[in-house]
């Protein structure tokens, strides 16, 4: 019999933590290892005897029965009924107690089980770290109190010098030529802040929208850029999850990543696992996070669904193909050249549609016995929206997440009745506006990268000072895979 027992203290009232944990069917909303959770037989989440069905990040399935639930003791017990992971006679207990001294919570998570001979240690570690410790951190990110206004530079730590660097900024919205180098100084980090030496910066279509003014995320003068990776120089008071010298990355507003040094809110920055280098993080974090919430949150892609992906050879498109195929969907890519079609097929697209004598919607219907696509990921916008609506299966879901060809414009929603369609227009910012959301998304993404469910490919590298050229190439659809900018050490003394 193996016994595993883990515990932690959360800086949150016990009632708030219990509200999260008593939901027997809620792990998919917070636990990084759990992709999906469903209760069998229409039972309730707090019905003792109910059975939850987990699908883990790697596709493994686990069924667990609720053995006891006590709101009085804030304790629940559950047992594994059936599992792809060989944990036998597994019974676990989750228990919360109030820390009256400071209104915090003591959380204990323990279990007893048996494992196949020779795998005891591995499975005990998996349960202790992969399940319990990872769960602690995910719930901690959701419930812990945060120091207010950590991005406000009002209470800068006294002393310490600013670090000079280079940024690519615009003084007004416009074309790529508006981007020009400027000398900047990254101040010492204030409370809740971190200062980074950036070593690789991702280039994304959203940067172009910010530069042109299509999105109002960047009010000139300022630097565009949503993602970068680098090394922590120093941290301000109250920052506990980062330390100097640590390899980190971020992908989120506020914009300003086109810089060699940056001081920013530490809660937006995540440590990088050893398996992911800085260039891969800069190239893949924003696109990977986008793919994560597009496939797992905006629409939960299910096995057997038909998914149409535009630009399947592009940064996000390739990841969507890989991940959707891994989830068991039939992926159709829609692209413009045989070269890009090859990339799409390699990424998991079962079919690829090229421009031809037939319309896109007719080609999709030919490939789906006339049904159409259940889910369509369309970041092309104006040129494709009508085709996408026409290519939807009954009750299909069109997810318009970009507008590379221009704004979609006004539509009569009556036209959606032809397929009882749902249209979503997700905004990256709303899926990544809290540290808890970022933590949950990056957990699943890093896990997927680790297991090579998705792979990050770098197409072109440009010096930071050539950001305009990098954006121009992206805008002209000359690129495949991801484009990154590399700050040059010498540029810092511009």
């Amino acid at each position: 019999m193996i016994k595993v027992s883990r515990s932690t203290i959360l800086d949150a009232p016990v009632a708030a933590v219990w509200e999260v944990l008593r939901d027997f069917n809620g792990h998919d909303r917070w636990h990084p290892a759990v992709d999906r959770s469903a209760l069998e037989g229409g039972k309730k989440t707090d019905q003792v005897g109910s059975v939850r069905n987990f699908v883990l990040g790697g596709g493994e399935r686990i069924r667990e029965r609720l053995l006891s639930l006590s709101d009085k003791d804030r304790r629940l017990r559950y047992a594994i009924v059936e599992s792809d992971v060989p944990l036998m006679n597994y019974v676990a207990e989750v228990s919360l107690k109030p820390v009256t001294d400071g209104d915090r919570t003591f959380w204990s998570w323990s279990s007893k089980f048996e494992a196949p001979k020779g795998r005891e240690r591995e499975l005990a570690d998996l349960v202790a770290e992969g399940v319990y410790d990872a769960g602690f951190e995910a719930v901690r990110a959701r419930v812990e109190r945060r120091s207010p206004a950590s991005s406000a530079p009002l209470q800068r730590a006294a002393g310490g010098a600013a670090i000079d660097g280079l940024a690519m900024v615009i003084d007004r919205h416009g074309g790529p030529e508006e981007l020009h180098p400027a000398r900047i100084a990254a101040p010492p980090p204030g409370p809740g802040e971190v200062r980074l030496h950036q070593t690789a910066i991702g280039v994304n279509f959203i940067d172009i929208y910010c530069r042109s003014g299509a999105f109002d995320l960047l009010q000139p003068p300022g630097a565009p850029g949503m993602e970068a990776a680098g090394v922590v120089v120093d941290v301000g008071p109250g920052v506990r999850h980062l330390r100097p010298g640590q390899r980190v990355a971020y992908a989120c507003p506020p914009v300003g990543a086109y810089a060699s040094v940056r001081t920013m809110a530490a809660e937006l920055v995540v440590p990088l696992p050893d398996s992911i280098d800085a260039e891969a993080a800069a190239a893949g974090l924003l696109k990977g996070m986008s793919a994560e919430f597009l496939l797992h949150r905006v629409h939960k892609v299910q096995q057997g669904e038909t998914v149409l992906v535009y630009a399947p050879a592009g940064g996000v498109g390739r990841l969507l193909c890989q991940w959707a195929a891994h989830l068991g969907a039939t992926v159709i890519g829609a692209t413009s050249s045989e070269e890009k079609a090859r990339i799409a097929r390699a990424a998991g697209a079962r079919h690829v549609i090229l421009p031809g004598t037939q319309s896109l919607e007719d080609q999709v219907r030919d490939l789906t016995q006339g049904r159409g696509a259940d889910v369509i990921y369309d970041a092309v916008g104006r040129d494709t929206f009508a085709h996408s609506v026409a290519a939807l299966a009954p009750c299909g879901h069109l997810i318009s997440f970009g507008q590379a060809s221009g704004p979609v414009g006004s539509w009569d929603i009556g036209s959606l009745a032809a397929s009882s369609a749902t249209v979503s227009r997700p905004n990256f910012a709303h899926y990544t506006d809290t540290p808890a959301k970022v933590a949950a998304i990056t957990e699943r993404l890093f896990h997927a990268i680790d297991r090579r469910v998705v792979t990050v490919e770098i197409g072109r590298r440009y010096p930071l000072s050539e950001a305009a050229e990098a954006q121009r190439a992206l805008e002209n659809r000359e690129t495949t895979a991801s484009t990154i900018l590399i700050p040059n050490e010498n540029e810092e003394s511009l």
Partner: protein, 146 residues
């Protein structure tokens, strides 16, 4: 039946904190409210059933019997035999639980007792704040806050 529950987090392993508090006769060594203590009959302090007689800093005299002691669970329970507080059927427990993600432990101190109804709130506050929380504060000062 009145109930008091106080808990804290102390900045050392459960083993280290337990080593300081398991001695039923050692209250004066770590609790600021206790002046002196002895085991009646001179027996060992970890003999279940033994009685400690101790004097508070303010002069009050209390006798308590050790009901249970567990080095496995880092816990002990005791009852009050005699005290100036006006409580009956008073049984208290102290328990430490390891916190696995750092050198710290979760400490609980609770009690149940009967008393005159009009004095219940006052006694709950006295026991919870002065006795239990006062003890935790001293342990945190010694081992660290966590």
């Amino acid at each position: 039946m009145a109930q008091v529950y106080t808990s804290s987090v102390i900045g050392a392993s459960a083993e280290r904190v337990w080593a300081a508090i398991r001695d039923f006769n050692a209250l004066p060594d770590w609790h600021p409210a206790i002046k002196e203590s002895r085991i009646e009959g001179g027996g060992p302090a970890d003999q279940v059933g033994c009685v400690r007689a101790f004097r508070l800093q303010d002069g009050g005299f209390i006798r308590e019997r050790l009901l249970a002691l567990s080095d496995y669970d880092f816990s002990c329970s005791y009852s009050i035999l005699e005290s100036p507080m006006g409580v009956e059927n008073y049984v208290a427990s102290v328990k430490l639980t390891p916190v696995t993600d750092g050198a710290r432990c979760f400490a609980e101190w609770s009690a149940e007792f009967d008393c005159a109804q009009e004095r219940e709130a006052e006694l709950v506050a006295l026991i919870g704040n002065d006795v239990f929380q006062g003890g935790f504060a001293a342990l945190k000062a010694r081992f660290g806050d966590a």
